[in-house]
Amino acid sequence: MNFDLTEERQMLQDSLRRFLRDNQAALQASTRLGDGGSLLGFDAEIWSKLAELGVIGALFSEEDGGFGGAGFDLTTVFEELGRAGAVEPLLDSAILGGGLIAALGDAAQKPLVEEVIAGSLHLALAHGEPNSRYDLAQVETRATQAGDDIILRGRKAVVINAEAADYLLVSARESGGPSEEDGISLFLVPRQTEGVSLRGYPLLAGGRAAELDLEDVSLPQSARLGAAGAAYPALKRAISRAEVAIAAETLGAMETATSLTRDYLLTRQQFGRPIGSFQALQHRMATLLIELEQARSAVINAAGHLDADPDEQALQIAAARNLIGRAGRLVAEESIQLHGGIAMTEEYELGHIAKRIVMADHRFGDTDTQLERFIDHSAA
């Protein structure tokens, strides 16, 4: 047993933590709601520097042109992003977009991964639909053959990073019923393609997304990633990696929330003494610290089983996300409550961090959905 990070990961963690801390003001500015917010959804300069630091490369295996890509590489990077409340779309451009091209792409498509790692290409996964909720196999968007071309028709929901993306990775059904795993294909669609229209908007927890309308979008056969109708296993795999990253990111945000709360309890004076001297509050702080350690272990469990057999992997990820969903909500709500009014303001850092924690539960399966997945896989 060894729970220490390798030397390489330790260095990655240190340099990323230092970089994000030094750029805290720019990071915070890009996450503001309202007029102050970034039109891109994140800070472009920080994005290029993350690429220079090798942070994007750390998310890909050597085979794919990176120098990491294992579960603990993902958690090392994302825990730091979460700690800083960063909204840079590493999940969307790299883990999901880049990861799927690396997994399914042919010789002509794969070079795009290098551009992702270099920070010069953005991607967005357009998979969820208005009726799919958290069901990964629910795809109603259709891909039909018309002569040599493929025609896409449908609607995609809450496509994160869509407006910044050079390519959208659009899932569409070539065969099978609307919730069957077989029959789903992925297509690499340049954002500017005719028939693709975006309605963009900010997200409550920072970053931007769009509703995507696909109206008779005509694509060449070469736009398909992988074999026709066979994209589901790769999608599932990429989303599993994303879920581990989300869990780690939430853990990082929970660390910041508890640390801000601890500092506040020690400094805020009411009734002539620091509020942290009241036992009623001390016990609640202690509960948060206990839950934080549980969350840390859950992330380690999930990351350590990312390459396990599919059932064990799915079980571990569902377990981690269910636990983090519960512990995260507690940490977010209690941190706000223990602060009082100041935590309700946009200006104070905690508000954004609390939003990151709670809204993470709305990607790829919430606490209850993870519970169902856990039960399904325990029974298996």
Binding site: E333, G341, E346, V358, H362, D368, L371
Partner: protein, 399 residues
């Protein structure tokens, strides 16, 4: 023991329902139902409609132009208003300041201010909390120094709700810095147009502007704006707080919230079935509803005791804690029900503009409201302070 409302109370309910059906503008109800902001105009409009009906001041004695409804009638009115998605009545003038003026104000103050509250001419806000005086309100530092026929006020108030709309503020100020904390505080009425007052917005974590900082620099306030006696302000403030805590359980809001969650959970599909049929979600919903059913009766028990003349004491603290916990749980359910569509932040849709929501009806408001309503357990005496009160009464002074 009889769980039924009396014939008179049932008639009253019917009358309220009739009024709401006829006079509540549909567009306004739609705004409230969707969780969008009403804005000053909307509040003023509803205020005027209630005033025309003579139902604006349920808790005021008739001699001042109020309804003099008992606690059960007020409860029925609140319940039906929430059910119909009527706007909340802005409480600062009507249910917070007015009872203080009616009990402790001079005849001149009553004659001047009370009619202006009813007519909507004055919009009041509350100057209580300060950056260093939150839960420990009595440590407030805003100073008022008597100079001839006026006070000179210096200091800062915060969390001033809807202060951006207000033309008057009632303030707790320190008039005797030497006295023991609670004894040196006075209750002043201050015209917001007086030179030296600056209102600065505080943007909340959901992007809304509902609270403010109010800064006072050498603000001259005529001595006739003092309510009651100098240095007796704490007594009046405590009296005011007992009124702030009527309807503190928010049962009507919770009922309306639960209905909204059910609507959304019926429309959202989860694994091929409506979400409301999902065992895990249904269990969460059921637990909240079970808690609310009991809370509703707890509320009525306390209300009927109040109606028979017994002042609620520790019970109002209990109602505040449990009532806000239930409301917050329902907000959490709403967020869950919206699924992926809880994430977008379309502020134009919330402000009542023409921009449509991204997701299903009501989804734009659920996550901002979930975060915004964390305030319920913080303001009006935090839930920790309420528990201190309960513990102190039940366990003795050592708490």
């Amino acid at each position: 023991m009889d769980l039924n409302y009396s014939i008179e109370e049932q008639d009253f309910r019917a009358e309220v329902q009739e009024f709401l059906a006829q006079k509540l503008p549909q567009e306004m109800a739609q705004t409230i139902r969707a969780g969008r902001e009403l804005g000053k105009e909307g509040h003023d409009q509803w205020h005027a409609i209630l005033n025309a009906q003579g139902w604006l001041a349920p808790n005021w004695p008739k001699e001042f132009g109020g309804c003099e409804w008992n606690a059960v009638q007020r409860h029925i009115f609140e319940e039906e208003s929430c059910r119909a998605n009527a706007p909340r009545i802005v409480p600062f003038g009507l249910s917070m300041l007015a009872p203080v003026l009616q009990k402790f104000g001079s005849k001149a103050q009553q004659d001047h201010y009370l009619p202006r509250i009813l007519s909507g001419e004055d919009w009041w806000c509350q100057g209580y909390s300060e950056p260093g005086a939150g839960s420990d309100l009595a440590s407030l530092k805003t100073r008022a120094v008597r100079e001839g026929d006026h006070y000179v006020v210096n200091g800062q108030k915060t969390w001033t709700t809807l202060g951006q709309y207000a033309n008057w503020i009632f303030c707790l100020v320190r008039t005797d810095p030497e006295a023991k904390q609670q004894s040196g505080i006075s209750f002043l009425l201050i015209d917001m147009d007086t030179p030296g007052i600056e209102v600065r917005p505080i943007i909340l974590l959901d992007g809304t502007h509902e609270v403010n900082e109010v800064w006072f620099t050498d603000v001259k306030v005529p001595v006739e704006n003092l309510v009651g006696e100098e240095n007796m302000g704490w007594t009046y403030a405590k009296y005011l707080l007992t009124h702030e805590r009527t309807n503190i359980a928010g049962v009507g809001f919770s009922r309306a919230g639960l209905e909204a969650v059910k609507r959304m959970a019926r429309s959202q599909m989860h694994r091929g079935r409506p979400l409301i049929e999902n065992a895990h979600f249904a269990a969460r919903l059921a637990r909240a509803e079970i808690d609310l059913m009991a809370m509703s009766t707890t509320n009525l028990r306390i209300i009927s005791r109040a109606a028979s003349g017994q002042a609620p004491g520790v019970e109002s603290s209990m109602l505040k804690v449990k009532g806000t916990e239930i409301r917050q749980e329902i907000n959490d359910l709403a967020r869950r029900a919206a699924g992926t569509y809880a994430m977008p932040f379309v502020s134009e849709a919330l402000e009542g503009g023409n921009e449509p929501e991204v997701g299903p009806e009501g989804s734009a408001a659920v996550a901002p409201q979930y975060f915004n309503y964390r305030k319920l357990s913080i303001f009006g005496g935090s839930n920790e302070i309420q528990k201190n009160i309960i513990a102190k009464v039940k366990l003795g002074g050592g708490a």
